[in-house]
Amino acid sequence: MSYQATIEPLGETIEVEEDQKLLDAALRAGIWLPYACNHGVCGTCKVEVLEGDVDHNEASAFALMDVERDEGKTLACCATLLSDIVMEADIEEEEDALNLSVEDFVGTVTKIEDLTPTVKGIWLEIPGDGIEFQAGQYLNLNIPGVEIPRAFSLANPPSEKNVIELNVRHVEGGQATTYLHEQLSTGDKLTFTAPLGRFFVRKSAPEPIIFLAGGSGLSSPKSMIIDLLENGDERETTLVYGARNQSELYYFRLFTRLAEEYDNFHYLTALSDPAAGDDWEGARCFVHELAEQRFDKHFEGHKAYLCGPPPMIDSCITSLMRGRLFEEHIFMENFFTAADSGKPARRSALFKKF
């Protein structure tokens, strides 16, 4: 049994299990709420319930006063839901969020292509009006025989409404990606839920853009960059992409061509561990190192979008911050599905997003 909580001012709806704390559900859904003590004594996570009922559980009488209970306040770290609710939290509204409604879709596989030895491109056709999404968002794909849906970013730009592209890296021993790599064939039908996530370009912010991507984290940046360029966006946009070796480097020709075609788009790549036979004269380093070289360790005045494996993201955040680009200017993909059940690594309350 679970309930739904709609979180204002974002307008996003999350699932909350019957005995799950509201804060826990929100954080797991990738929505950051202010919090500190996590056990009902400090009051940092106070939110207002606009509709529906909650149980305050062990919230301290000093941290959640009677007048506040009467006004509909609750402590997210203690509250469990007694019905579906609409709540308001002290979080900033995103001017550029379109808040598109989430729907269920059926797509037919029209093409499967090897992008690298470990990454396949999968194209799905969606009939009728197709799908509306913001470049950078993801979908939750239902895979036959796999209980929990898996998240994949949409790699095509939103202008292509009827054919979507997914890039799937084969995870050794992974049930879902093994199915997609070994059993899926053209003509199959797959169901999915979309669009999800809050990773999209803040178009209203005027700053030049840096995309930092690694491994198979190229889907969202590809969609976002094509979307920007085909809509005539003129700000300086740089993609810094890193792969292990040449055979894992994909869409190289696509981005090289875009960089030639558009003066405001720049494409840099590095290989971190080139293979013996690689014919590579470019940079041999990690993404964050290439970015530091390119921007001379000075990132102030940009917006950065990060996509890739966790160690790459981690190094890039540190490089950006030491180069004086801080949290409010850094965006990254956070998918959370039921599959992400592991506890996140221990961290402090210093940052909201990282």
């Binding site: 941290a63 002290d90 911050m321 030491r322 801080f326």
Partner: protein, 510 residues
């Protein structure tokens, strides 16, 4: 149907309610009006980037705080009416409360003063308002603590002179000098020292032992005060985080300054908390957890997680934190041994732990405790049983920075006393550790002026040079000091226990 106007979000509401309440001064320059917020070298490019860590209006503040007061005082009334002093775990527990009353409660008052200064000192209105709220909070904490503890003052020794001995007692210069060091710095260092280093980084190591300790030991008054204060602490902690991020993000030149402050205030805070750890390990008859365990959870895990995140700004963990971690097996035993020997010069009682308690310490601290500290306690216990309770005949040399007696040992050798000397303007100054020595050497002109109580006492500036004269000057009676067993508190506690054991009352005459 007319469309319902869109709800304002909390931020928009707050902006509308508070906008225009600050202005650029014209009759006098802003530098004249705010003369202190630049000389430390902290560069702020844009105060508008300050993110209010909490969005609170005065109206809401009064409403919340008034309800907290009503609840707290209702419970304090019931504590008094129900003779709740009878419900504490043991008479010895009250010495933990005395430590708080003598050492921490005056700090709340000092914090009220400090934040009132900050509430005037910053040119950014958001930071000023946050500090003004905190200033009022600190005053409230000070007052409610005095009220909470006043009930115990009716029965137990050691409470009644708290405000006088705060300024006069040699051992209370430990907490006092900590705060005076902070308030005599500039505004950014003060807020870093208190809001970040203390309220954010180390607060769990202060609150957890006292408030959980109170709850474990049947002390309803302190527990309730703790909950009432903790709901304010969340604002104080978020202010601490915001100030650090704000300074680091505003200008790259701020980084080395902030790093030096974190180095200094980590060490000062850690030294001060040694007193709290000693309270946890020795003064709580019912234990919450050991200092070692608390250090592992709240510093080695949580504190290091914070510094891992801060590393993104280029900050490194505070200097000497490794030494603090090495000391976790011994600092409370060294501290208790010292208080034990000098408690005839304090408004506290001390004692040798019971066998059961020594076994708990052995289990928590292992071999070092069994080979070094336990034999010492057992020897002192023997002396006590022979009627020769051991007290030092003189006052200790104290550290010129943290003002703690120089009893600490070398980080890598728990049997070697650590006393480091710095010579400045022809005078030798003793320090307890490399951490305190670094602090002294960074600002020798500040610390060479420190008021060092034992030196003042021996110079005859504190009522006379003998211990008796000094105690008289403190207005502490002899009966309020020294050994717990046989003390007035102990005798009274035993009488209460005897009464409780007897069948009460007589059947009413029919």
């Amino acid at each position: 149907m007319a469309e319902k106007p869109k709800r304002l979000n909390l931020n928009q509401k707050y902006q509308l309610m508070t906008r225009g309440l600050d202005w650029e001064t014209t009759y006098q320059s802003m530098d004249e009006v705010f003369p202190y917020d630049r000389y430390e070298g902290i560069k702020i490019k844009d105060w508008d980037k300050w993110q209010d860590p909490f969005r609170l209006t005065m109206d809401a503040y009064w409403k919340y705080q008034a309800e907290k007061e009503r609840k707290l005082y209702a419970i304090l009334d019931s504590v008094a009416q129900n003779n709740s002093q009878l419900n504490i775990s043991d008479g010895r527990y009250m010495n933990a409360v005395k430590i708080w009353m003598q050492g921490v409660t005056p700090l709340e008052y000092a914090a009220f003063r400090g934040f009132a200064m900050l509430g005037r000192g910053f040119r950014g209105a958001g930071a000023r308002v946050a500090c003004q709220f905190q200033s009022i909070d600190e005053m409230r904490h000070y007052q409610t603590q005095v009220h909470a503890f006043s009930h115990y003052n009716k029965y137990f020794n050691g409470f009644n002179q708290y405000s006088r001995i705060r300024d006069r007692a040699w051992y209370l210069s430990i907490p006092k000098s900590y705060f005076e060091d902070a308030v005599s710095a500039g505004p950014f260092e003060l807020i870093t020292a208190i809001s970040f280093s203390f309220e954010y980084v180390l607060t769990n190591l202060l609150f957890m032992p006292f408030v959980s300790g109170a709850a474990y030991n049947g002390d309803m008054a302190t527990t309730t005060f703790g909950f009432s204060a903790q709901s304010d602490e969340s604002r104080h902690m978020t202010l601490g985080l915001e100030i650090i991020k704000f300074m680091l993000e505003q200008h790259e030149d701020n980084l080395p300054i902030v790093q030096e402050w974190l180095d200094k205030w980590f060490w000062r805070g850690y030294r001060l908390l040694g007193l709290v750890g000693t309270m946890m390990d020795y003064m709580l008859p019912k234990k919450v957890m050991s200092w070692r365990q608390a250090w592992e959870i709240y510093w080695e895990d949580n504190g290091m997680a914070l510094f891992n995140d801060l590393a993104r700004y280029g900050l490194r963990p505070p200097k000497h934190h490794e030494a603090a971690t090495k000391e976790k097996y011994r600092i409370t035993h060294e501290f208790w041994s010292t208080i034990y020997q000098f408690s005839h010069a304090t408004a506290l009682y001390t004692w040798i732990p019971t066998t059961e308690e020594l076994d708990w310490l052995s289990a928590e601290y292992g071999e070092l405790f069994d080979t070094v500290y336990r034999p010492r306690y057992e020897y002192w216990q023997e002396l006590h049983e022979k009627g020769e309770r051991f007290f030092q005949k003189r006052l200790p040399v104290v550290c010129n920075v943290c003002q703690i007696p120089i009893f600490h040992t070398m980080p890598d050798d728990p049997l070697m006393n650590c006393c480091l000397v710095s010579e400045y303007k022809g005078t030798k100054h003793q320090m307890c550790s490399q951490g305190c020595l670094d602090i002294f050497n960074r600002e020798p002109e500040k610390y060479c002026q420190a008021y060092i109580p034992p030196q003042q006492i021996y110079q005859g500036n504190c009522g006379g040079a003998s211990l008796e004269d000094y105690r008289k000057w403190l207005h502490i009676k002899d009966e309020e000091t020294g050994e717990y067993y046989g003390s007035e508190d102990h005798v009274m506690w035993e009488q209460w226990q005897a009464q409780a054991a007897k069948p009460t009352g007589v059947a009413p005459a029919s």
